[in-house]
């Protein structure tokens, strides 16, 4: 039961490419088309998704560039050098809070969705607990295992997502996609505001990049990983609008799930395509929750070096569970999630800009 030491952990370029979608693609993808369709006309939502995506690809590149300009140093080490230790600790703790809350939200959402679609009679508390226990189990192992798990899940997630997109093509009606470019500037702005939060959470990269095997290549790899997310989001959005129309998509709670329910592939088993779909979303949400919790642990470890990892995990886990149970219904949970996403983005922007400025001033190359 003793966890492996992480001292020698090194993550390859491929790991970084996969790490980014594993962090970013989370429960939000299930409701993203609805939120975005609500503020844009017909299929125009792809524009804010693309623009927001390009911004976030750049931000990802910037974050990793910043982190890897101090090769093999932890966030706390280089941030202390730049903006004094107390401020660096405050930043680290804010990331810990973000990790705990993100993990809590993912755990709660997966419980709610499973309850509605799969296990009607099982209490949400039990579902959250079982999911959380698996997450804790994964976090308490070696950190290298997390990357290996990402590597294992990623092909499945991408393959099934692409499969569902390809299968949907036959159901798309052009009428739903037209007219194009009719949204007002205000609508696009609103769409940007809505869309960009689905690209959040990449702040954890600041901590993981200390393990990068080839720091020079890392920014490009991370940007590549983010591009995968952008393409996936845009394709899914298009397919949802094309198959179900803007009106219905706006009014569905989880349009991506309903998209899978819409498809009827002849031949018994595949008629129920959403079962396969659920599996991969649980995987995608699992990796996000996993990295959020592990990120929090990693951040806390850097501040409190004396405390063993397992102790930190066992202290954080109940916190995650109880925060997850706080929102009383879907509306509260989704508002909570939105605020949290903005918090993560603002935190990320503040930290990156501040550190960038200080590293320029102090002339760190």
């Amino acid at each position: 039961m003793t966890p492996m030491e992480d001292k020698d952990l090194q993550i390859s370029e491929k790991d970084i490419v996969i790490l980014v979608p594993s962090i970013v693609v989370a429960v939000g993808i299930l409701s993203l088309p609805a939120k975005l369709a609500g503020v844009t006309i017909s299929s125009d939502g792809w524009i804010p998704l693309l623009v927001g995506g390009i911004i976030m690809i750049f931000v990802t590149w910037l974050v990793v560039k910043l982190a890897t300009s101090f090769p093999n140093q932890t966030f706390l080490t280089y941030a202390s050098k730049l903006v004094t230790k107390p401020i660096a600790i405050v930043f680290t703790l804010l990331f810990v809070i973000q990790g705990i809350i993100i993990a809590a939200i993912e755990v709660r959402e997966i419980a709610d969705i499973s309850k509605v679609y799969l296990l009607n009679n099982t209490p949400a508390e039990v579902l959250s607990l079982s999911f959380l226990l698996v997450v804790i189990y994964a976090v308490s192992g070696s950190r290298a295992g997390i990357f290996r798990l990402n590597m294992l899940f990623f092909p499945f997630i991408i393959f099934i997502s692409l499969l569902i997109i390809i299968l949907s093509i036959g159901w798309i009606s052009l009428e739903n996609l037209l007219p194009v470019f009719q949204t007002s500037i205000g609508g696009y702005a609103e769409g940007m505001k809505t869309g960009i939060i689905y690209y959040g959470n990449i702040g954890f990269l600041l901590f993981y990049m200390a393990f990068a095997k080839q720091p020079k290549k890392a920014p490009k790899m991370a940007a590549r990983g983010m591009s995968i997310v952008v393409v996936l989001y845009i394709l899914l959005f298009f397919v949802c609008i094309g198959v179900m129309g803007n009106g219905a998509t706006t009014n569905l709670i989880y349009p991506t799930i309903d998209l899978a329910k819409e498809l009827e592939i002849p031949g018994g088993f595949f008629e129920r395509f959403e079962s396969v779909f659920f599996t991969i979303w649980v995987m995608a949400i699992f990796t996000t929750a996993l990295i959020a919790l592990d990120g929090a642990v990693l951040a806390l470890q850097s501040v409190m070096k004396k405390i063993p990892k397992l102790t930190i995990i066992f202290c954080l886990a109940p916190l995650v569970y109880f925060i997850g149970l706080l929102p009383k219904d879907y509306v509260e949970l989704s508002t909570f999630g939105t605020y949290m996403a903005y918090f993560s983005l603002i935190l990320l922007f503040c930290v990156v800009i501040l550190l960038m400025i200080f590293s320029k001033i102090k002339g760190v190359k």
């Binding site: 039961m1 006309i41 509605v116 679609y117 799969l118 296990l119 009607n120 009679n121 099982t122 209490p123 039990v126 079982s130 009428e175 739903n176 037209l178 007219p179 009719q182 179900m244 129309g245 009106g247 219905a248 706006t250 009014n251 309903d258 329910k261 819409e262 009827e264």
Partner: protein
């Protein structure tokens, strides 16, 4: 041995999670609902209605055994319950059977005309089917002329249940000239945008299912205003889903000739953008093959093909124009998606007229439609003719 004690503890905790699935329902206890019929029993005051919901459940015992002679058991059972809301009715059904209604395999929803003739009631009864997570979004919705639950009692020859029969019937629409059924997900969009629409109708005549006409529903209050008969529905097919046009009969040389649609396309274009005098051009491109011919004429000449094509063009044009006339002048409701053409190509114009499109000012009824048909015969079948004058004496 502290390690062993720890292991024991973990195993004991593990037991809690191994008690099986919390939400399990044994398959024997599930009532698989394949069809639902909704009828209006009576209209109460204060805007409330008494509805009858009939669920068609699969009878597993009969559905799995071959339905040959001697086995009189039906493959289905129908359960009717009345209540003010469908959900309450569905709950009541649990008391009538020991089965838990299970809607994941629902194929068709039948709604009687009586329900549609009440303003807004149709959308209200559809709500529960869109909201329910169990349902698939491809469930087909039909309107029935008389009581909807009468259709569910029809015993089909091949299929086990009438619901499956209706589901397959609508699937076989390709080339049979059958209407594409309205699916519930399309209806949701229509309801949201308050478009006028048509829903295919089924009726029982001489104990046979007849599926050849549609009811026209007003978008603003979801109330049925009338029907398009079988002939007008054929015209409708050429406008909305032309490849399903099926076969068409034309007159050539005094004899009838049957042409099957192999490919057909319809293009609607807005030609005049003036609000008060909107003009559309509707062009049908028809390709067909001759399947049956009652005369002796030689079909393989340029002249006869041109004549047949001209006859076809005239017939199709007449059908299409009659449908447009009825929809535009009598019902004044755009169920032909002319409005969507404007929305698609001229969104700015659409924004200014959408509220008065087929209501209020009713720009739709004031618009003109110019119908053009181009027919092409691409095949005359394997043989030219089976009778030929003058060949006999050889």
């Amino acid at each position: 041995m502290p390690m062993n004690k720890k292991l024991l503890l973990i195993l004991l905790i593990g037991l809690v999670f191994l008690t099986g699935c919390w939400g399990k329902v044994e398959i024997e206890n599930r009532g698989f609902v394949v069809g639902t019929a909704i009828d209006l029993e009576e209209k109460k005051g204060n805007g409330k209605y008494k509805l009858v919901m009939t669920n068609q459940l699969i009878n597993p015992a009969a559905a799995t055994t071959p339905s040959n002679a001697g086995n009189a058991q039906k493959g289905f059972m129908n359960i009717s319950v009345d209540d003010e809301s469908l959900f309450a009715a569905s709950r009541k059904m649990r008391q009538l059977t020991n089965l838990i209604p299970y809607y994941q395999h629902l194929k068709v929803i039948l709604v009687s005309e009586a329900v549609l003739s009440q303003p807004g009631l149709f959308t209200d009864v559809m709500d529960v089917f869109v909201r329910n997570h169990e349902l698939r979004r491809g469930v087909k919705v039909f309107v029935t002329k008389d009581k909807a639950n009468k259709i569910l009692e029809y015993v089909p020859e091949v299929e086990k249940t009438p619901s499956m029969f209706l589901d397959k019937l609508a699937n076989n629409g390709k080339n049979a000239g059958l209407l594409e059924p309205k699916k519930i997900d399309r209806l949701q969009n229509i309801f949201i945008y308050e478009r006028s629409y048509f829903v295919p109708r089924v009726k029982l005549e001489n104990n046979k299912i007849v599926y050849d006409d549609v009811v026209v529903v007003q978008g603003s209050n979801n109330q049925m205003v009338g029907i398009l008969n079988a002939e007008e529905t054929k015209g409708l097919l050429y406008i909305t889903s032309p490849t399903k046009g099926g076969s068409i009969e034309a007159n050539f040389d005094g004899n009838s000739i049957n042409v099957e649609t192999t490919n057909a396309k319809t293009k609607i274009k807005l030609t005049n953008k003036d609000k008060e005098n909107l003009a559309f051009s509707l062009k049908v491109n028809f390709e067909g093959s001759i399947e049956e011919h009652y005369g002796q004429a030689n079909l393989l000449t340029e002249k006869s093909l041109v004549e047949i094509e001209a006859a076809l063009e005239k017939d199709i044009k007449k059908m299409v124009e009659r449908t447009i006339e009825k929809v535009q002048k009598e019902y004044k409701l755009d169920v032909l998606k002319f409005g969507d053409t404007i929305r698609r190509d001229h969104y700015d114009l659409w924004k200014t007229i959408v509220d008065n499109w087929d209501r209020g000012e009713n720009y739709f009824s004031k618009s003109t439609v110019d119908v053009k048909v181009e027919a092409n015969i691409i095949s005359t079948g394997a043989s030219n003719r089976i009778k030929q004058k003058g060949k006999r004496d050889e």
